[in-house]
């Protein structure tokens, strides 16, 4: 599948692995793909993000992803639901990190190269589907960004909070026309 990725898309995948390693986490997740996309300049994805007003708001997105980590990767709706049961997720994460280190709640902290987690794999597969749906011959970084908005979870939630939804992205990248095959 990777042979169909553009150089930009490959750089995003590589960048995601670096972000993952930098955080001392063993599994590449959707959030690492987004962090890598935010680093990019001049690609289709960064064009789309800038068009949606995100050019100067990268830090706000990074901060929101950080908050998501403090909620153990649960979405706000999920942590609100737990709060309804009297469970304070951020308190639990804070105590675990106090003893076991920052990022301890993220799956698998082992030595060696990080591997792609289930959600990150699904996003890369979805990026292929996005390219096919729009009849694009190659998978670019914009397809990874599009795919991120289609997978429910904290990363898509953070993007939506910043006005980056699937519909908004599709409009910026392809005009108003919806893809014929989806």
């Amino acid at each position: 599948m990777f042979e169909r990725f553009t150089k930009d898309a490959r750089d995003v995948v590589r960048g995601a692995v670096e972000h993952c390693e930098g955080a001392g986490v063993r599994t590449v997740g959707a959030e690492h793909l987004l962090l890598a996309l935010l680093d990019r300049e001049g690609g289709r994805a960064s064009f789309a993000l800038a068009a949606l007003g995100l050019a100067d708001r990268g830090d706000s997105v990074r901060e929101a992803l950080e908050e998501s980590r403090r909620r153990a990767g649960l979405s706000r709706a999920e942590s609100d639901a737990l709060a309804g049961l009297g469970i304070d997720v951020t308190e639990i994460v804070a105590r675990v990190e106090e003893v076991h280190g920052v990022g301890a709640m993220a799956a698998g902290r082992r030595a060696g190269r990080p591997s792609f987690g289930r959600d990150a794999k699904r996003i890369l597969e979805q990026s292929l589907r996005m390219a096919l749906a729009h009849r694009d011959r190659r998978i670019g970084d914009e397809h990874i960004l599009l795919a991120l908005t289609t997978q429910p979870g904290p990363t898509a939630e953070v993007l939506a909070d910043h006005g980056v939804t699937h519909a908004a992205l599709t409009r910026i990248l392809y005009g108003d026309a919806e893809p014929k095959a989806s």
């Binding site: 153990a72 649960l74 999920e78 639901a81 309804g84 049961l85 675990v96 076991h100 902290r109």
Partner: protein
């Protein structure tokens, strides 16, 4: 707590979506906590048998789940 928020919370309690979402979230949280504790125990030299006994599951179950880590 004001009457309005109290009512809103009680209405929320009856909404199965909120309750089910809480259970699913709790399960994910539990899995993460278990992984942290098992890793920590292994790091401190605990055997699979000892970990399994504390978790109340079989040695095979815990080894199968975390053994390759």
């Amino acid at each position: 707590m004001t009457e309005a928020t109290d009512l809103a919370e009680r209405a929320g309690d009856r909404d199965p979506r909120v309750g089910l979402r809480a259970v699913a979230a709790l399960r994910r949280l539990l899995e993460q906590l278990e992984a942290v504790q098992v890793r920590s125990a292994r790091h401190q030299g605990w055997s699979w048998q000892e970990i399994a006994a504390e978790l109340g599951v079989s040695r095979q179950a815990v080894h199968k789940k975390y053994g390759r880590q």
